[in-house]
C-alpha cells in the first residue's frame, strides 16, 4: 500500500456494504434522510457538513461536500465562513481546556 488516502476510493464508499449489507443499508437510509430538506435546507446542511468535514479532517468529506456546496448554490465566501466556524470551535475547544490547566495549576500552586 503506497498511502492511506486515495481519491478513487470515494466513489467506492458503498463497497463497505460488502462486509455487512444490512448495516450499510441502514446507514445509507439514515444518511439520505439526514441530508433531505427539513427544518434546514439542503444547502444549509451541506454547509454544516463542510464545516464538520474540516473539523474531523476527512479528505473524502471535504472533496464531496465542497462539490455538494457548489451544487447547492453556495459560494466560496459562505464555504470559507463554514470552515472558519469549524476552526473556531476546534480552537475554542482547545482553549477552553485551558481552564482545566488553570484549575490544576491553582490547586497545586501556593
Amino acid at each position: 500500500m503506497d498511502g492511506y488516502y486515495h481519491s478513487a476510493d470515494l466513489p467506492r464508499f458503498a463497497d463497505i456494504g460488502k462486509g455487512n449489507k444490512e448495516l450499510w443499508e441502514k446507514f445509507s437510509a439514515y444518511y439520505a434522510a439526514v441530508f433531505a430538506e427539513g427544518a434546514l435546507t439542503e444547502r444549509e446542511k451541506a454547509l454544516v457538513a463542510l464545516g464538520v468535514a474540516h473539523a474531523v479532517q476527512c479528505p473524502y468529506c471535504i472533496d464531496a461536500y465542497t462539490q455538494a456546496c457548489l451544487e447547492k448554490g453556495s459560494n466560496i465566501e459562505e464555504m470559507t465562513e463554514a470552515v472558519h466556524v469549524a476552526c473556531a470551535i476546534r480552537g475554542g475547544a482547545s482553549l477552553v481546556h485551558g481552564l482545566q490547566m488553570r484549575n490544576v495549576a491553582e490547586k497545586l500552586s501556593m
Binding site: E42, R43, Q67, L70, E71, K72, G73, N75, I76
Partner: protein, 345 residues
C-alpha cells in the same frame, strides 16, 4: 475582452475535434448505451412547439463557458433572406413559441424585424439576452421595443454576486447586468400583473452541476431583492454542456474526465425522456436545421432523412423525426435535467 476559439485558431474551434474528444471512451457507457438501457433509444421528437432561431455568433461578450464560441470577433449572422424563410416556415405551422438566441441576438440587424413578424403571426416570442446588450448606445431603445412587443426575456445571470458572474462573463458584467435588470423592472418586466415576463438563467460557474431549480430561484429572489431591489419571474437552471469554450475550460483545468463522469453518474432517465430536442427545432444562422442549439454548435444537423435546411421545411417530416445524439447529451440528461427552459425532471 477575450477572443473566440476561432479567432485564436484553437483546435477546439473545430466541431470535429470536439466530437473526437467527446466520443473517446472514458470508462463510462456512451450516451447511446445509457439510452438503450433506459429504453429511450432511438430518441424521437414528440412534435415541435418551440421554433428556436439562432441568428448568429456575434456578441458583445466573450463568456468563458459559451457553447457558441460567440464574441465580437464572430461575424456569422443570419441574413434577411434566411430570416424571411424562417417566418415563411413559421406561418405555415401553428408552432406557438419562437425562441430567438445567438450570440447576442439583438445585434443582428434583422432581430427586430423577426420579432415583429413572429408577433404579427400571434406567436409568443422569447429573447435570450445577455442583459449588457441593453446598455449599448446603439440599443438604447431595445428594452422599450421588447416591452412594446411583449417579448419574454430570458436573461443570463449565473450568480447574484459579482465575483462569480464576472469570472464567467467578464469583468464588470455583473454591475451592467444589474443596471439592465433595473431598466427592465422599471418598464414592468418581472412585475406582477404586467404581462412582461423576465426570467433568469443560472448556470454553474465551474465544473459542477446546478442546484435544484426551486431552491436556487428562492435564493436569487431573496438576494437580488435585498441587495439590489430587483424582481424577476422565474429562474431556470442550465447545465454547462461539455463543448466549445466550456470544453476548453474543462481540458485546461484537468476537469474534463471528472465532469463527464459526474454527468454520466447523474444520468436520469426521467430527465432524458424530457429533453428539449423532442419538442424544439433549432435553426442555424445559415438556415441549417438542428435538433438543438448544442448539436448546432457541433455541426450535427437533423438526420435520418429529416429536412436539413429551412428552405426545405416540412412540418410533417420534422414533428416525429429521430434525434441525433452523442455523449454531449449527457449534459441535458444529468440530475434534474437541463433545457433552455430549465430542469426537465
Amino acid at each position: 475582452m477575450g477572443l473566440s476559439l476561432k479567432a485564436r485558431a484553437d483546435s477546439l474551434a473545430s466541431p470535429a475535434e470536439q466530437l473526437r474528444i467527446l466520443s473517446t471512451p472514458n470508462g463510462f457507457p456512451s450516451f447511446e448505451e445509457r439510452m438503450r438501457a433506459a429504453s429511450l433509444f432511438p430518441l424521437a421528437a414528440t412534435g415541435v412547439t418551440v421554433f428556436q432561431i439562432n441568428v448568429g455568433k456575434l456578441c458583445n461578450q466573450t463568456c468563458a463557458h459559451c457553447h457558441v464560441d460567440a464574441g465580437p470577433d464572430r461575424k456569422e449572422i443570419m441574413t434577411r433572406e434566411t430570416a424571411e424563410l424562417c417566418i415563411r416556415a413559421l406561418a405555415a405551422t401553428d408552432i406557438p413559441t419562437v425562441d430567438i438566441t445567438g450570440g447576442a441576438p439583438e445585434l443582428n440587424p434583422n432581430f427586430r424585424w423577426l420579432v415583429e413578424q413572429a408577433r404579427a403571426l400571434g406567436r409568443h416570442v422569447m429573447d435570450r439576452s445577455n442583459l449588457t446588450v441593453l446598455l449599448l448606445p446603439a440599443q438604447e431603445d431595445l428594452a422599450e421595443f421588447l416591452a412594446r412587443h411583449k417579448v419574454e426575456i430570458i436573461a443570463s445571470l449565473p450568480y447574484y454576486r459579482a465575483a462569480q458572474t464576472d469570472a464567467q462573463r467578464g469583468v464588470g458584467v455583473f454591475d451592467k447586468s444589474i443596471e439592465a435588470l433595473r431598466k427592465l423592472n422599471a418598464l414592468g418586466y418581472g412585475q406582477d400583473g404586467s404581462g412582461l415576463q423576465l426570467n433568469l438563467i443560472y448556470n454553474p460557474v465551474g465544473a459542477f452541476l446546478p442546484p435544484k431549480q426551486e431552491a436556487i430561484e428562492a435564493q436569487f429572489k431573496k438576494e437580488l431583492a435585498r441587495q439590489h431591489g430587483i424582481a424577476f419571474n422565474r429562474l431556470y437552471t442550465i447545465t454547462n454542456m461539455p463543448i466549445s469554450r466550456f470544453l476548453e475550460f474543462l481540458l485546461a483545468t484537468r476537469n474534463y474526465e471528472g465532469y463527464m463522469e459526474r454527468l454520466a453518474n447523474a444520468f436520469n432517465p426521467v430527465a432524458a425522456a424530457g429533453v428539449m430536442c423532442r419538442y424544439t427545432l433549432s435553426v442555424g444562422w445559415d438556415g441549417t436545421l438542428y435538433d438543438c442549439d448544442f448539436n448546432q454548435m457541433l455541426d450535427l444537423p437533423t438526420g435520418f432523412g429529416a429536412p436539413r435546411h429551412i428552405r426545405d421545411f416540412e412540418a410533417g417530416a420534422l414533428h416525429r423525426r429521430r434525434i441525433v445524439t452523442g455523449n454531449h447529451c449527457y449534459g441535458c440528461a444529468a440530475g434534474a435535467g437541463s433545457s433552455c427552459g430549465g430542469n426537465t425532471a
